[in-house]
């Protein structure tokens, strides 16, 4: 039976109380957290230094294996293998630079390394000197779920003007003529964020009574009202069908600022990230198609990402290459002991500080070649080791995190999906024209090693019950 906490009166329930109260022979610390006094944490002061060293060793490892840190950080820290996808970023940068107005599409599954390639491409273009690359993660700027055509152009225009203003002070004097309401920058902002339009109406329900006489006098109406209509911008749009006339509105302001950039001997390249979050290919096309037409007319090279679903599924994959000068597919990285690409990712991040060769191989294998899963497993195995009191990662730690990852993929699968997975595992048969198959690809339960080589994610496979093959 619980006693009142030490030093408190019998009425104290322990809530918001730091003092101990007893439950038989045990003590618990309510509400201020028990972490500080757990048995497992109590260390002999004499061993504190050793423990601190261990903690620092693990924390240093965690910093290099952080699947959720901005890719920019990993690039700047020299932790990225640039050749992982055959120097893809150089190809992207090269074409964007040489072919003005070119349009390249980067397609890949979740965690395949698309963002890293885009950032590397942008950095490579920047180094050319005469190129002004604008890396824009559209999904960080606006709600993709209600995105409409015009949004890419709007955000591009805003990034361009801000960049020119911030990085090219000599241009400011010339740019000042373009700022302000009604000027190109004002029109850009209205296009992006919307505006309010006033009009005269006799309908009181629509309008608010105009307080001044001027407008009413002008229209000679005794009962004139001013209706304020909100025109939403492209970065906070309603779900309306796209209008090409609407797209044309932005052409003028963009041409003005592109001319400023060209005066400064800069060719602008737009690098759009985040559109791969639009998992439905029809949504992707509805957002991208008209914007891309105008970019081409403006002779601005564009590189952008798209979800795997634009490649696979009925009636979509056939046409994607017609719309772009080049489509690159970033597949998962196959486990290849000879080339050892995945191992090189671990090595670059100093993974062997805590991973044995065998455990590193396991991490590579169970990641299935999904780069973020690779980094996650390497990190999470180390967290597991740390929590378990191990000095380095053990096979048991790796097994635990693989099971955790596999269980995450397993949840929510129905009998139909399970049958598809089992069939893929047994016969290698996988019909990518089916909607369910595309969903399995998008959710990473099935991985694409090439356009004809599909496999169940190894972590998922490890927790699936796969029937033994029947003997003859």
């Amino acid at each position: 039976m619980a006693r009142a906490c030490a030093g408190h009166d019998a009425a104290c329930t322990g809530k918001m109380c730091n003092r101990w109260y007893g439950q038989g022979e045990a003590f618990v610390l309510p509400d201020r957290g028990r972490g500080l006094i757990l048995r497992g944490m109590s260390s002999s002061p004499s061993t504190t230094e050793v423990k601190l060293q261990r903690r620092e060793r693990f924390r240093a490892y965690m910093q290099t294996f952080n699947p959720t840190a901005p890719p920019q950080d990993a690039i700047e820290a020299g932790l990225v293998c640039e050749e992982l996808h055959g120097s893809l970023f150089r190809k992207l940068a090269g074409r964007a630079d040489l072919e003005r107005g070119s349009q390249q599409l980067l397609v890949g599954g979740v965690g395949s390394g698309k963002t890293t390639e885009l950032i590397l491409a942008a950095r490579s273009l920047e180094q050319e000197g005469h190129v002004l690359p604008l890396y824009i993660d559209i999904s960080a700027e606006t709600d993709l779920s209600s995105l409409n055509s015009g949004a890419l152009l709007a955000t591009f225009g805003l990034h361009l003007t801000r960049r020119l203003w911030a990085d090219f002070p000599p241009l400011r004097q010339g740019m000042e003529a373009l700022l302000g309401p009604g000027k190109p920058y004002g029109r850009l902002k209205e296009y992006a964020y919307g505006k309010q339009e006033a009009g005269v109406t006799t309908d009181e329900a629509l309008g608010q009574r105009y307080p001044a006489a001027a407008e009413a006098d002008r229209v000679h109406q005794a009962d004139a009202y001013i209706a304020i209509r909100s025109v939403l911008g492209k970065l906070n749009p309603p779900a309306l069908p796209a209008l090409s006339r609407d797209i044309e509105e932005i052409r003028g302001p963009l041409e003005e600022f592109l001319a400023v950039a060209r005066d400064a001997q800069k060719e602008v390249v737009a690098v759009f990230d985040g559109l791969d979050r639009l998992l439905d290919p029809t949504r992707f096309w509805s957002v991208a198609s008209q914007d891309l037409r105008l970019f081409r007319e403006l002779k601005v090279s564009v590189v952008l990402t798209a979800p795997l679903s634009v490649l696979f599924g009925a009636r979509v994959g056939q046409s994607v290459s017609d719309h772009f000068d080049k489509v690159y597919h970033v597949p998962v990285v196959a486990v290849d002991p000879v080339r050892g690409l995945l191992g090189s990712v671990l090595e670059k991040r100093h993974g062997y500080e805590l991973l044995s060769d065998v455990d590193a191989d396991s991490v590579c294998e169970y990641s299935g070649g999904v780069l973020r899963d690779l980094v996650s497993l390497a990190r999470d195995a180390a967290v597991e080791a740390y929590i378990s009191g191990h000095d380095s990662v053990t096979s048991e730690d790796v097994e635990n995190v693989v099971q955790q990852l596999g269980t995450g993929y397993l949840r929510g699968l129905g009998p139909y999906e399970m049958n598809l997975l089992l069939r893929l595992e047994e016969s290698k048969w996988f019909d990518v024209s089916r909607a369910t198959s595309v969903e399995l690809l998008l959710t990473r339960r099935v991985l694409e090693y090439s356009s004809t080589d599909f496999r169940v994610h190894p972590a998922l496979l490890s927790v699936m019950h796969v029937p033994e093959p029947k003997s003859a």
Binding site: G35, N66, Y386
Partner: protein
């Protein structure tokens, strides 16, 4: 059917602490009284990580609001509370705004156990961020007996050559450095209020 590892909240806090900046994980709420359990997790994180913790409900939160909440401020810990009735469209919407949710402080996605399927299905980008760090809210671990507590106190007294009374006196005079051992010591003598 395999299940996720069960972790007491203090272990969840330890995991976040060792992972450092930009850490994400998911905790599956117990079936009974998830709100109270979420409060308990919040208290534990605050105590262990020594940082403020905010619980941000996902239901009905717009893109702009969520982005603002996660970035102002950006270094504290945030528990994203996904109520059991979060629908497919809301998960998809959350998924598409993953970049806007990236922040320096730790993020815990708090959700019902049966929501993992919807997370994987409709929010693969968020799931990818969480990786294998999905845990069931577990029971609190073993707690100290009187004997263990006295033994630990004796260890601290011997090492620092100080008495309990002296530690309390210094804490009251605000002369005690905020070292983990002294915090532990104060808690063990029942003066956690001085921490």
């Amino acid at each position: 059917m395999p299940d996720f590892s069960s972790q007491p909240f203090v272990e969840v806090a330890r995991r976040l602490e060792v992972q450092g900046a930009h850490s994400w994980l998911a905790v599956l709420s117990p079936l009974s009284d998830p709100t109270a359990a979420c409060d308990a997790l919040s208290t534990e994180l605050e105590s262990f990580l020594q940082t403020p913790v905010r619980v941000v409900p996902l239901r009905g939160s717009s893109f702009e609001r969520l982005r603002e909440q996660l970035h102002q401020p950006e270094h504290d810990a945030v528990i994203l509370f996904a109520s059991g009735d979060l629908e497919a469209g809301e998960w998809s919407s959350l998924d598409s705004m993953r970049s806007a949710l990236e922040r320096r402080g730790p993020v815990v996605l708090w959700m019902a156990p049966d929501a993992v399927g919807r997370l994987t299905e409709f929010a693969p980008n968020i799931r990818s961020f969480i990786g294998s760090s999905i845990f069931l809210a577990g029971p609190e671990p073993g707690i100290m007996t009187d004997k263990e507590r006295e033994s630990r106190l004796e260890e601290l007294r011997q090492h620092y050559q100080l008495s309990d009374q002296e530690i309390v006196r210094r804490a009251e005079a605000k002369e005690l450095p905020p070292e983990p051992h002294f915090v532990e010591w104060l808690v063990l003598v029942g003066r956690g209020d001085l921490v």
